[in-house]
Every structure is written in structure tokens, then in C-alpha cells.
């Protein structure tokens, strides 16, 4: 059973890679960019799901960690010439001016800096609970944004950074997304993952079993910050331009929406919702343009797209309170049962 599933998974990966390669060659820049953006959103949604869904910590700090990752990695990959061009108001700190590192290292450095920020903020803030924690992390995220706006000689302030090397290619972003999926699914099925879920379900009982609740929270929060930092770095190197306004609360909100929509506590849900939301937001752009559809005629209502999208969201939330997947995960057995190839087992539903 297990080897058969592994073969199936490997096969699916090969097919997926081939499709991705094919798409890369045929579908054009615009469509490819949307596809790659979904991969980045997968990384970000998994990062938030780790704290919100699996550890039960209501964190709203994603944008802050992304900003740290994006800025650190961008400054590390830009060539001295590009830095000169960017920092015309105040020069960049001299030791950073000449420093240009390969993208891989910059990506990890961005993640590590975000993780450090997560650790520093997590130690005091993780003593709070629920909505208090939400507000504290939200505040932190805004502080990061303001700090970045004002650190002119480090971040170029409100002008942002331009001409960041465009190195987040299809293979890079989907590679990182797959790594994130693999890491998360290994983590949640490990004994450490069980501890996360135990802390989420009942802190007192977890503590009574000898689980160090506070440490589990800090580790989960720091890990999540690392992944968010990597996601931010990927985003910066895809769009090639970053500025502090990009990392506002709306960004965190989008990621939170994906996590809730997919089902908090489900990796599969986060993956599906990341792709669905990213693609749908683009696919519905036609709604903002002049419409002539049977009885419906408009002459361009900017914002209609968001109205329809919000209605769709409400429908999902009303009919599936726990998100598309609830807490369930994809499994080959579940797929076979859904397709009617295998009888439903008497006990559980999808594994």
C-alpha cells in the first residue's frame, strides 16, 4: 500500500512537472505569472496555516515577515550598479553596497532574518491568547512597515526597491512550493506535529502530559516566520519591485482568506485555495470591464469583480463552515473512494 502510494505520488509529480514545463513554453507570460503567483501563495498560506490551523495561534503578522524576507533577499541579490541607481537619496550602508550573493543564499538569508524577527516578537507576544495575540502580531507587522519606510539608508524608504533581478522562475517558485508542501506534511504527521495539534486542542492537557507548551508555540511561530520570509523573498524576485505599501494588512488578509477558505488545519485545502483564489481573482477581471451578457449590460463597473468574489466567499463559508477541506487531507485512497473505485470503509471518511 505504502510503496504503491509513493509510486503514485512520484508519478503525479513527474506528470505535474511535465505539464508545468509545457505551460512554461506555451501559455505566455501573463498566464504563467498567475500560475507562479499561486505557487508563492501556497508557500504563504502554508506558513500561516502552520500557526493558525495547526498550532491554534491567531497570528496576523504574515505581511511583516514577508517584508523582512523580501527586503533582506533583495538587497543581497541586487548588483552594485542597481543599488546605486536605487539609493539616490541616501547611499546604502557601505558594507552592503558591494555585497551580491546568489539567489539561493539570499532566499535562505531572507527566511532566517524573518525567523529571527519571529523569535524576537514571539517570545513576549506568545504569552497572549486569541484575539489579543492577533492584535499584537498585527501591530508588529505595521511596525515593520513603518520601520522599513523610515530606514532610508537601508531600505530606500518609501521609494522602495526597483530592478530586483527576476530570478523567481517557474521552476524556482514551484520547487519551493513543493518543498514547503513536503515539509509541512512530514511535520504534521511527526510526533512534533502531534504536539502542535495537542497545544491547539487543549493547552492545559498538553502541559499536564509534559509538553512544553510555550516552547512549542515559539518554535511553530518562528518556523512559520521563516517560511513567510522565503515567500516574501520569492514574491520580490518575481515582481522585481517592492515597496513598504505592498506589505500592508491587506496582504495578510488575502493569505488568511486562503487559509480559512481551504480549511484551517488542512495542507490540501491551503494548496487548492491558493490556486483557486489567485486564478479566480484574475479570471474575474472581465467583470470590471463593460459587460454585455444577455440581460446584463454594464459600461464598466470597477470593483464588480470584488463584489462577485465576496459573494462566492460567503457562499463557501455558509455551506462549508470549516472551509473547503475542513481538516481533511488528500490521500490516494480517498481519491479512489471518491471516484467509486473502492468501497467506502465503514468507519472513517477520507483519511
Amino acid at each position: 500500500m505504502k510503496t504503491r502510494n509513493n509510486i503514485l505520488t512520484l508519478g503525479a509529480l513527474v506528470v505535474f512537472a511535465m505539464l508545468l514545463g509545457l505551460a512554461d513554453r506555451t501559455v505566455g507570460n501573463y498566464a504563467m505569472r498567475i500560475l507562479n503567483l499561486s505557487a508563492i501563495y501556497i508557500v504563504l498560506a502554508l506558513s500561516l496555516n502552520l500557526v493558525n490551523g495547526f498550532t491554534g495561534l491567531f497570528s496576523l503578522g504574515s505581511a511583516g515577515f514577508m517584508a523582512v524576507g523580501a527586503y533582506v533577499s533583495a538587497i543581497l541579490t541586487m548588483s552594485p550598479d542597481v543599488k546605486d541607481m536605487n539609493f539616490f537619496l541616501e547611499p546604502l550602508a557601505p558594507w552592503l553596497q558591494g555585497l551580491t550573493l546568489p539567489f539561493g543564499i539570499a532566499l535562505i538569508a531572507g527566511g532566517i532574518c524573518a525567523a529571527l524577527a519571529g523569535l524576537i516578537i514571539g517570545l513576549p507576544v506568545l504569552r497572549l491568547r486569541d484575539d489579543y495575540l492577533g492584535i499584537a502580531t498585527l501591530g508588529f507587522s505595521e511596525i515593520i512597515r513603518v520601520v522599513i519606510t523610515n530606514l532610508q539608508s537601508w531600505t530606500n524608504g518609501a521609494q522602495g526597491l526597483k530592478s530586483i533581478p527576476k530570478v523567481s522562475t517557474t521552476w524556482v517558485v514551484w520547487g519551493v512550493a513543493l518543498l514547503a508542501i513536503l515539509f509541512m506534511s512530514r511535520l504534521v504527521h511527526s510526533s512534533y506535529g502531534r504536539q502542535l495539534k495537542a497545544v491547539r486542542d487543549d493547552e492545559i492537557a498538553a502541559e499536564a502530559m509534559g509538553v512544553n507548551v510555550f516552547r512549542v508555540k515559539v518554535v511553530s511561530f518562528t518556523l512559520s516566520a521563516f517560511i513567510a520570509g522565503v515567500g516574501g523573498a520569492l514574491l520580490g524576485h518575481m515582481i522585481t519591485t517592492i515597496d513598504p505599501k505592498m506589505f500592508s494588512f491587506m496582504l495578510t488578509f488575502n493569505i488568511l482568506l486562503i487559509v480559512v477558505l481551504g480549511g484551517s488545519g488542512s495542507i490540501t485545502g491551503s494548496v487548492i485555495a491558493s490556486i483557486a483564489v489567485t486564478v479566480l481573482m484574475e479570471a474575474m477581471r472581465f467583470l470590471d470591464e463593460p459587460l454585455n451578457f444577455l440581460f446584463l449590460k454594464t459600461d464598466g463597473l470597477p470593483g464588480l469583480r470584488m463584489v462577485v468574489f465576496s459573494v462566492l466567499l460567503m457562499i463557501v463559508v455558509i455551506f462549508r463552515q470549516r472551509g473547503l477541506m475542513g481538516e481533511r487531507e488528500f490521500s490516494w485512497e480517498g481519491l479512489a473512494r471518491a471516484a467509486g473505485l473502492m468501497p467506502r470503509s465503514k468507519k472513517g471518511g477520507l483519511a
Binding site: R194, G210, V211
Partner: protein
Amino acid sequence: MLKIDNLSVHYGGIHALQGISLEVPEGKIVTLIGANGAGKSTTLKSIVGLVKPSAGSITWNGEPLITKGTKNIVESGIVLVPEGRRVFANLTVDENLSLGAYARNDKKAIESDRERVFTLFPRLKDRMKQKAGTLSGGEQQMLAVGRAMMTKPKVLMMDEPSLGLAPLVVKDIFTIIKEINAEGTTILLVEQNAKAALEAAHFGYVLETGRITMSGEGKKLLADDGVRKAYLGEAQ
């Protein structure tokens, strides 16, 4: 032997335990009875390190426990089944049991302990892959006890195991408590159901607003007029 000496606990300005002393000899069932707010749960919580005492000492075979963390206390063989069951609702029965063995590394012994839990509670085996939140109240209490058994305890402490359960289930739970004790595990039981607790216990303490007011063999306390009036609801 688990020994508590002159233990005091403050919650802010409230003096919850005012210097209590008690002993739990090895292999016995000891019960702590008393009304709401008497300090029963606080006593258990301070033994496993979930509450920091302000004065006094707790020793396990002569070794002080107060400075140790909960994980170390669990590792040294003292475990608490918290009040209100508190199973991990979104984890399966099996995963709940695995979390009980969280502080252990001896894989083989863990598996045999899992089997032992399933012999004590056959119902749990049938529901192994079910989420704990979908179990009935009685089954959840059994899971909470089973989860604690997975730590391989020398002292099993239970906070109100009969809370909110049907009388028949309460009977089952007490039968199992005696069974676990007969296999050599020391038990410290906190109960509001004084009658059931005193009948099962070798020794009992009566706690009133943070002080121990009476102690003696279970059967003797059960026969005591004061206890009968205050806790067993008998008219004079």
C-alpha cells in the same frame, strides 16, 4: 511515597491552600474530598508543577518536586488526569494515546502499554481511528485515563473523574481505578462524589477552604457523622 508538607498557594490575593500536609503511600488509593473551591484541584496542579506554590514542600521518595518542570515530573512517574477530561478533540484516539507517551523513548514498552490500555478499555480499541471529540463523555474519560496510563505512571492523579457522567459509567470508572491500583499504581483521587471516592480509597483527607480538617481511613470517614452531614447529604 508522595509527601506534601505545609503547602501554601496564592492566586493573586486569594490564599487557596493554607499550609496543608498530606501523604500518599505507595500502592494505595488516597482521596481528597471537599466542596467547590476547597483547593482540591490546586493541590493536584501544584504537585505536577502547573501551579507554583508560595510556601511548603512536595517530595516524591524524598526528592523535591517544586523546582522541577512538568515534563520532568511526568518523567519521574507522576501524572495528572485533568478535570473535565480535556482530551485532544481533533486528534484520533490513537494520537491521544501517543501524546501520553510523549516524554518516553522506549518504543517497545510504549506499544505494550498501548495494548494494556486497550485491554483495560476495549471500547477505545474499537474507536482507535476516531476523533476524540466524537466520543461520548464516558469514553472521553476513559481516554483521558488511558492517555495518562501511557506515561507509565507510578502515581496517577485524577481530578473529578466522575464529573458529568451517568451513574453507571461512574461505577465503571471506579472499578477501573481499583483495577489500575491492584496492578501496583498509586492513586490520588480528587472527588466531589465523596461516597464513591471514600468507598474506593484506603485513606481520605477532607479539605475545607484551603485547610485539611479531617483525615482517616476511607471506611472510617464514610462512617463519620460530620462527613456524612457535610458531604453525603444525610439529614441528622
